[in-house]
Symmetry: C2
Subunit: 304 residues, 2 copies
């Protein structure tokens, strides 16, 4: 299974990276003063990372069609939105992180004002990519714009981030089952919405039907949650070097996490159960689902 | 002419305000914790303000069609983007303003983290409005998404804001004509792009032709600049109470403005010249252009 994933990643990731690197954030007038914004945008976009969301878009697209490079602008739009969210999340007013992917965070290099603007510009640019650079009929493009705005917005990623901030410090006042519910809702939005959104974007671009949409919606919810449980475990036990960010920062912030709530052992059990569900959901897809299966395996086994 | 404008505003503004107020930022699951994000979004959207951009969209639409209420979701999208930009501009890392439209700024009420997220959510919501709530053929909707992303993004509003921040403190090192050019490029993006964008959105929704697009592109550039020159003059001489923000704050920040560069008298001359150009551009539109003409008059004469 690892081999399957490695093959996929070798095929997709260099193309995703290249597509992102070649995005022209540069000022068309060549105005010197605009360059730092362009630089700040590319600094975070080119920083690498797992490229999980674009890979999901491409894998979902490939369930139905072979010309996966057509999915690149859509995949890139999801990665731009994910990147902007990291830049804003790292700001002093939010998580106040100094390190991201092993490098100084955006605001540490370009200053807070430019980091806020770079994030704003990346979010806006994602919608420009969808409108201007996706080869598809207009109805499909609108579906993609709608899907991204819902995944990223008030009921999706940003809504989840708001719940995250608001729930800090509140956890002690609640019963465990309430906290558990809160934690799931939080992550279904904060991480899950964009993971599901990136899968559905691939399905929509390839004109997938309602039943595949429903299946991947469920699959996205499950691996999104698994991803977060794994993240919480890694924050507790991972190695700072391979993770590229401060270890134990969640605990320091007093954040509600799956580990703080259930302990390490139960968190690991939950992760295994989510993995089992994900694999079950893929079974009817047969051979074609092996890429997504390998990704689900990776989410459980990753060490960064 | 004042009468003409008053009539238009009496017709449009209450409907714009109502449309914005009724936007459901509320969490569909009724989750208590999400409410502050919803509140923070509406706090700034419902704060009123001039509604200049939505009025421009509606006026431009009305050059070609009568059923102007069809333009409301498009007009609202531009107002949401404008509102988010004010929230982010007011942040401590940016202009650090405490007052906006006579009320405490968003971050003063909801905290910096929530203000950043409310801005992010409003920007995202603007694209959802275009994708989900505009009644038009799909090709037109895509044109609107593309137009908004360009007006708001790295080569438009955000790009202008970046130049603004980067140019602070640099002005003393440049010759006057360089500074003047910088100032025009800055404002053509920071304010002009969204003003032109909101006009073109109205034209595009009403299926206007290339020549009307070109005319309103020029008109938008001229009144956008006029708006900024007027703003700089008001920042110098306006009354804090009617303006609803701190007076002289530009000067305190050492900002490059039309007043700091040319002095009050020449800035006023420039404003009059821009007004003359705007009126000339509208002449061929005859009676139909009177609404926009009244708006150009207002921009020159306003005291807040």
């Amino acid at each position: 299974m690892k081999g399957q994933l490695a093959l996929c990643l070798d095929e997709y990731v260099p193309r995703i990276d290249a597509f992102l690197k070649e995005l022209e954030f540069a000022d068309p007038l060549g105005l010197r003063l605009a360059t730092p914004l362009n630089e700040a945008m590319h600094y975070s976009v080119d920083a690498g990372g797992k490229r999980l969301r674009p890979i999901l878009t491409i894998m979902a697209y490939r369930l139905l069609a072979d010309d996966w490079q057509r999915a690149l602008p859509v995949a890139a739009a999801y990665e731009l939105v994910h990147t902007y969210s990291l830049i804003h999340d790292d700001l002093p007013a939010m998580d106040d992180d100094d390190l991201r992917r092993g490098r100084p965070t955006n605001h540490r290099v370009y200053g807070e004002a430019m980091a806020i603007l770079a994030g704003d510009a990346l979010l806006t640019e994602a919608f420009r990519l969808l409108a201007d650079e996706v080869e598809a009929d207009p109805g499909t493009v609108i579906k993609l714009v709608s899907g991204l705005s819902r995944a990223a917005g008030r009921d999706g990623m940003v809504g989840g981030q708001a719940i995250d901030i608001l729930s800090q410090g509140e956890s002690g006042q609640k019963k465990i089952d309430q906290q558990s519910e809160l934690l799931e809702v939080l992550h279904r939005r904060k991480t899950g919405a964009m993971i599901t959104g990136s899968l559905l974007a691939g399905v929509d671009l390839a004109q997938g039907d309602v039943s595949l949409r429903a299946r991947l919606t469920e699959f996205g919810a499950v691996i999104g949650l698994a991803f977060q449980v794994a993240d919480d475990i890694l924050d507790e036990v991972g190695e700072e070097e391979s993770l590229g960010k401060d270890i134990g920062s969640d605990r320091e912030l007093g954040k509600l996490t799956f580990v703080s709530l259930f302990g390490l052992d139960q968190a690991r059990q939950k992760l295994a159960e989510l993995h089992r569900q994900a694999v079950l959901l893929l079974e009817p897809l047969g051979e074609k689902g092996l890429g997504l299966k390998a990704l689900a395996d990776y989410i459980v086994e990753r060490d960064r």
